[in-house]
Amino acid sequence: MIIDALLLQAGYNAALVSLGAALLGAAAGAAGAFLTLRRRALMSDAMAHATLPGIGLAFLAMVALGGDGRFLPGLMLGAGLTAAAGLWAVQRLSRQLAEDAATGAVLASFYGAGIVILTLIQGLGVGRPAGLETVLLGSTAGMLRADALVIGFGGAAVVAALWALRRPLAMVAFDPIHARLMGINPRQMDALLMALVLAVVLVGLNVTGLILIVALLVTPAVTARLWATTVSGTAGLSAALGAACGYGGAAISAAVPDLPTGPVIVLLAAGAFALTLVIRGHADG
């Protein structure tokens, strides 16, 4: 059954979901490569956790407007708004605190607020909240065709944008002062990179879930870093690893009932990292 899924034989929908997850993985891998080179990996974790209150609030808003609250683009909009607010809060707090402390504070408080809102929703008995918690760990089982298309096209758009911006992104990460003298605005590049990471987080909500998206952003990137000697090589290999993990994770979790997608994807990525450590550890003596 897993073999069927991996070979795209498990039906049209499942195949579409696997391909969508592969494109998401490629986007996460590529974005994660630039993110870790810029040393901003932790910030993506804060951003991902800050989506949770937005998801709850968007659910409530859609229920108030007469829906069942499960309309994915609506949930993504809410998630995007509070994630952006979380990012702004990190930047604001970093003026007074060290950046890691600011990141931790924002991560915990936004996530806590989100859990409170979700708990309230379960108690209210409005809309159709069952399964809303799949945004935590991801689930591609029973995913709609439209959702798979959003994920696939979203991932492809992020990959295309990163490819176009690869030179200035690399220059800002390597030597921001030189980049500035070459006419690149480092703040603008950082903002663009954060926007692309946010897009990955939102698109990934249904696949890996918000808790584990950071692993898909970071693990392929640090694995690729151990093999590649250039920025393009790092980003390309990281994207390929991310795509393979996304594809495999979605296929396996679609075939095994009740197996959440996120943990499977993350385990595959961690496996590639562990294998790399074993091989490269020997190579470096």
Partner: protein, 242 residues
């Protein structure tokens, strides 16, 4: 008329309580080679950074007759210590190609022409054999030469170099000074912070003696006097020289 490459007036810069520059003023004529000389902490690095707009100094800086911000494409800078991540996955040739960014642009292809241009810049600083080496796998002096090559790749008309000879061996120093004299012969203007007072007269044609403000400025023969040096460094320098 005011096509003078760099004209600096009343440059003043504070870091909190520290007054790093106090009304420094200098003019750098076209195709001149100027040494900026002064003791540690005199504000030499701050002077270059302020000129480039990397530090928010007050005063007036004009480059090629206009605001310096409009002339950035014509100015290259090599910092005293590049604040870069040495474990970054980048080869020497890629670092030099970053100097071509204004020519290649966002999407332009890095074709043979740019590769050849970058290799030629590496050859000028004697680093052509290291093109495919990781930047972190070089010695300090070699890294400094790569950043000089990156500046050369820009094809600038005004070069600001912060201690280009720090940590390089004698042969490399001779090679670099040849490169700089070549730039001057092509009409470029070179400004370099320089610590070795014994080579100032041989390498440069002008001197800016700086100690927070301008002590003296002009052709080496006129300016590079014991009296002016004593005012820049204090009298102890003269004792050491004797």
């Amino acid at each position: 008329m005011s096509q003078i490459p760099l004209d600096v007036r009343d440059l003043t810069l504070r870091y909190g309580d520290v007054l790093a520059l106090d009304g420094a003023t200098a003019r750098f004529p076209k195709a001149s080679m100027t040494a900026i000389v002064g003791p540690n902490g005199a504000g030499k690095s701050s002077f270059l950074k302020s000129v480039l707009g990397l530090e928010a100094a007050s005063g007036e800086v004009r480059a090629f007759g206009g605001p310096v911000a409009d002339a950035m494409a014509r100015i290259a800078y090599v910092p005293q210590r590049a604040a870069v991540d040495w474990s970054f996955p980048v080869r020497v040739i890629d670092v030099v190609l970053m100097g071509c960014y204004r020519q290649t642009g966002l999407l332009g292809r890095i074709d043979r022409r740019f590769q050849a241009q970058a290799m030629a810049c590496l050859a000028r600083v004697g680093m052509q054999d290291f093109a495919r080496r990781q930047i972190g796998a070089l010695s300090g002096g070699q890294q400094q030469r790569v950043f000089l090559a990156r500046a050369l790749a820009q094809g600038a008309e005004l070069y600001l170099l912060d201690e280009p000879f720090a940590g390089v061996d004698a042969a490399t120093e001779a090679a670099i000074i040849n490169v700089l004299k070549g730039l001057q012969a092509e009409g470029a203007t070179v400004i370099a912070v320089h610590h070795d007072l014994s080579t100032v007269a041989g390498y440069f044609d002008r001197v800016l003696l700086l100690n927070r403000h301008t002590i003296a400025e002009g052709p080496v023969a006129e300016i590079f006097t014991r009296d002016a040096l004593a005012r820049a460094y204090g009298p102890s320098l003269m004792l050491a020289a004797e």
